[in-house]
Symmetry: C2
Subunit: 493 residues, 2 copies
């Protein structure tokens, strides 16, 4: 007896699913813990893993890790690879790099083209790298239903039941008369309307009325469908993306393709496609979700002590309540705070009421205008071979602690303006200095004169730590000539 259902409904969608982790955002809303070059997804929030690690683990429940694509940019790719080291072999060829941030639609189109290349029937599960989801089983069930609807040609988003009159999210009203499918207690509907971030009165009304859901920014669709819908509703973007794809097929240089991407219009997938499309659908979900959009939102995801405080690090508190206190290496003393946020990092400290946490962006804006480094990166800077931390700098000198991972190797380099002194404090250093190559152990040291080719590597199995003292009239990171580099950064070959 032949089924009267369309073929797609008979098919298990799971083998077609490609999770796409959107990890290109620059994060300043968690400043000073996040920085332009160290965004929120790399932070340990609401768990022992960082948000991107949690995300990777979450989507690995929906598809094999080897099918997970990471949409990001070159600046962040190395950091992300470091954080996703557990899945290193699975994902090494799965990075879809945006040459430049152009909002969500172009990044999604780029990922869709990659999925299509791998499977013409491929489905995409698009998830931001920096959200928190609690309820793995509920998440996978929702993805299951959404995938079925996606195979039928819908653009499916997940609707989260509001728990407060939030004015920071978009809202979605399902069309309760247009049921598209169900599975257990889950339902999928066409969308009656999208509501942009409402004012406080509207938000309160939606919360009271019910039937409105937060737009979680997670989606499931066929790669072919989303590209078609982009072409339909954003023809400029569609053409540009197709042109880029043709260039790639025709073997254009990386540089030419990047150049083309930079001319692509900046469009959000929500405004630009979902809200326009007749194929938009929503699955109201039961898992707990937070976009952890500000320090205040930590309340939703972090563990609290009896007094309602979220406390990290060496904090001495006297009678504070409902506050968020983050200490890094220093001791932070708080007395009688209520509903406050205190975040202490090696180079910057933030203090504000939770209700003002959104205004962190104003602080970051001021720092940017001042060209202050504190908006851009941390004192500890991650590198493909390890990391370095500036311990102190002053006129004519800079002191760094440098760590090199086992097997890590800095480029063969020289500096025109500075000499360097290295003292090994843990592990073994292999030093190239001019024509010499020698090993240094703990307590041994060497000096690298100006204009001398040198290289530092870790031949051992434990992390190498050295203290580097730089001397010279100019100590910028750009005074470097790279001769050989394991990580493709050589200035000269």
């Amino acid at each position: 007896m032949p089924s009267r259902r369309p073929w797609t409904l008979c098919l298990d969608p799971k083998p077609f699913l490609y999770p796409v982790i959107m990890a290109g955002g620059s994060g300043t809303r968690f400043w000073p813990l996040s920085r332009h070059l160290f965004p929120k997804q790399l932070l340990r929030i609401g768990g022992n893993e960082t948000l991107i690690q949690q995300t990777m683990r979450r989507v690995s429940g929906c598809a094999k890790p080897a099918r997970v694509l990471i949409s990001t940019n070159a600046a962040q790719a190395e950091l992300i690879k470091g954080q996703l080291a557990d899945w290193k072999d699975d994902i090494q060829d799965n990075f879809v790099l945006e040459p430049e941030g152009r909002n969500t639609a172009p990044a999604i189109a780029l990922a869709a083209l990659e999925v299509l290349r791998r499977d013409p029937n491929g489905l995409m599960l698009v998830v931001p790298a920096d959200h928190v989801v609690t309820g793995q089983r509920e998440f996978e069930a929702a993805v299951g239903l959404a995938s079925r609807l996606a195979m039928e040609g819908y653009l499916v988003t997940f609707g989260v039941k509001p728990i407060r009159p939030e004015t920071g999210y978009g809202y979605i009203k399902p069309d309760s008369k247009a049921l598209l499918g169900k599975k257990g207690t889950l339902r999928g509907y066409r969308i009656s309307k999208f509501v942009e971030k409402p004012n406080a009165a509207k938000a309160a009304q939606y919360l009271k009325a019910g039937g409105y859901y937060w737009n979680s920014g997670m989606f499931v669709w066929r790669a072919a469908t989303i590209l078609d819908e982009i072409r339909l509703h954003q023809p400029g973007l569609g053409k540009a993306m197709d042109h880029m794809n043709d260039m790639k097929t025709a073997g254009a240089t990386r540089q030419a393709i990047d150049e083309a991407y930079r001319r692509v219009p900046s469009v959000s997938i929500d405004n630009g496609v979902m809200e326009q499309s007749s194929k938009s659908a929503v699955v109201p979900v039961s898992f707990k979700w937070s976009d952890v959009g500000s320090w205040g939102s930590l309340d939703e995801v972090a563990a609290k002590n009896k007094a309602g405080n979220v406390v990290t690090g060496r904090v001495i508190d006297v009678e504070s309540t409902d506050s968020i206190v983050y200490a890094d290496r220093r001791v932070v003393a708080t007395i009688g705070l209520n509903d406050m946020v205190v975040v202490d990092t090696p180079d910057a400290t933030l203090v504000c009421p939770k209700s003002r946490a959104q205004d962190v962006k104003k602080v970051v804006e001021i720092l940017k205008q001042q060209q202050a480094p504190e908006h851009l990166e941390h004192l500890t800077v991650q590198r493909p071979w390890g990391s370095y931390t500036v311990l102190e700098e002053g006129p004519g000198f800079k002191v760094k602690r440098v760590t090199v991972s086992p097997g890590g190797r800095l480029s063969l380099q020289l500096h025109h303006k500075r000499s360097e002194h290295w003292v090994v404090i843990a592990g073994t250093a292999r030093v190239t200095r001019g024509e010499e190559v020698f090993d240094l152990r703990v307590g041994q040291s060497t000096a690298i004169p100006v204009e001398t080719q040198h290289r530092l590597e870790n031949p051992g199995t434990e992390t190498l730590h050295i203290i580097e003292v730089q001397n010279g009239p100019y100590l910028g990171e750009d005074d470097i000539v790279r001769f050989k580099d394991e990580y493709g950064r050589a200035t000269k070959s």
Copy 2:
């Protein structure tokens, strides 16, 4: 025609006056800016000079600097000498060192014995090192009248007119019928009663009623009078002090005298003598005074911006009001604070409402219980030859920036457990290493192996800065054997 007034009133008291700066307090009320070993008097509050510098300048208007005695302890004497370098030659023999803190009465007795040694008719102007006084002329006038009364045998304190219902001070009610003397608009009276720190209702009542004055903790009296009154009202203390004085006259060792001092009872001059004595008097004063007893009291003495904030250092503020924000080397961002205190130092950060600033002592107590270094001293530690700052420490290593003043010379020393690497980043270093003596200039370095005698000195005219990297299984400051020392600290001669 012979005068009918006592001879003392005809005499100018000024040549008899010895200011005594009480600088022995350990200051934790301004934690984390003050530390047990770096008390409030060493902080720059309410001016460009530190409190003890301001105090020295103030009393220098009342007597020659060479007559100013400094009552303190050995731990603080070097720091104070550093801060009072402008008066170095005047005060070098004027330090009266308490072997141990025993409250104000024994310290004052010790100073009184020293004044008596210099002049049997000597008057003492006793002032805490860490108060702020605004109105130099008014101060000197009040000291003038108080000195005249002191010559007549009174124990004179200064009464400050209350400007708020303060519960943290003692109050004094003058006996308006017992006028002892006047000068211009100033009056001196016998004291009708002392009132210990009142509750809020009492304090409000005193403020409203008028006729009550804050006890400022500054006094003028004859050295002979205060010693007599101590003997009368605190006979135990009196005997102990006289015994110590006899020991000193008889040539007892420093150690024996110190030992005797440790057995002296701990008594405050207010409770123990002033409140008991029939000779107590008060001069209500017109100068502005603050004991800057907590972060909140900065309001009374520091300059405020338009929003009512007292701001120091690199602070990025968005719409805060009436707050105190202190940044050191890091950027501190504050948003929407009101009536708050934020103090950021290299190793500790404090955040509290102004109204809770008194509870800083609870934080310090907790740190003390935890044996945490942050209650005791700063990352930058002052030494007779300069200072050092711990930049970072970890298992098996410590990194310091060491500064040596021109002509400064560390002890000839060795360490059993650690090697040291020195890199010069400013100035010139003269290094003794084993049998060698050599100079290092900027960018040059040397290594000092374990068990090797070494010495660092600054032969130049600019401050020497080096980065020192220590390696070894134990890096405590007590792993040091001193052979020769300019500052009397040699372990072996």
